[in-house]
Symmetry: C2
Subunit: 162 residues, 2 copies
């Protein structure tokens, strides 16, 4: 399966990864959530090549995750900002951050701590059940076919020449 076919899979993971699942896109989005907006700022922050950055930003804009808006006048400059759809990726980023803090941090601890303005505490994101509020773990969740389910067309094993 090639990368551009992923988006048409009957799987929300595949569909999401067809948008954000490449080498650099999530790093770009991390920067967006940190307030980075300008082309050169992404470049400096990420060490990504301009070529790839340009390509990824365009893809994110075409997927409606970012929008490109002009600002200033004469000279007009552009900034890339998260759309609501892009904002909704916050749980993905925060889950990634927490896993990194838990499992990939050096001895000193997490590089960044998060402060919840609503309650005033230092916190991390926790995934809970939308219905009962209990923390989720894989063992207590069953996956069942939903309304958009299509039985995967199992690719026939390539026939060996007989």
């Amino acid at each position: 399966m090639r990368w551009d076919e992923l988006g048409s899979e009957t799987c929300s993971v595949a569909r999401t990864l067809s948008v954000i699942g490449d080498r650099w896109t999530l790093m770009i989005l991390r920067d967006c959530f940190m307030g980075v907006r300008r082309f050169e700022a992404f470049e400096a922050s990420l060490g990504i090549t301009r070529h790839v950055l340009s390509d990824r930003l365009q893809k994110l804009v075409s997927e409606d995750v970012l929008r490109k808006e002009p600002y200033g006048e004469a000279p007009v400059r552009y900034q890339y900002r998260l759309t609501e759809k892009g904002f909704d990726l916050y749980p993905v980023i925060m889950s990634i951050v927490y896993w990194g803090d838990s499992h990939q941090a050096d001895a000193r601890g997490a590089p960044i701590i998060h402060h919840h303005k609503t309650c005033g505490h230092q916190m991390h994101g926790t995934l809970v059940c939308s219905e009962c509020g209990e923390p989720l773990d894989a063992r207590s969740v069953e996956a069942l076919p939903g309304p958009g389910f299509t039985r995967p067309a199992r690719k026939p094993k390539r026939a060996r020449p007989s």
Copy 2:
């Protein structure tokens, strides 16, 4: 910045992505959470090439996200299973699933629904504050330097020949 340098960045997103942030790894992990264990089963499910699959499984094993265990006897077969560290990626996968369900599903709805055995409801994962339990959104969270923080060494802009 090259891919193999990502892991040494002072950022939990970068560190996490150095482990799971490539084209196929998250798809492999999705399969793991769905109960796929054998080499050929991953291949059939993903349509990934054997070469890349082999490489990714080895990387995940070396990062302690999966472990390779022999089972059966004569012939010995192998299976790849999630470690606890791998299991902890569940929130990442579920956040990705929910975003895909919300924004990339077709008109029929989500391909998979989730049933929480603990409470008996159909549900999705929600990210909440670990302290107050309120749903999180980016606007209500401040990021501050933590114990493992190191001021990023800003790469000097390459000097233009004067």
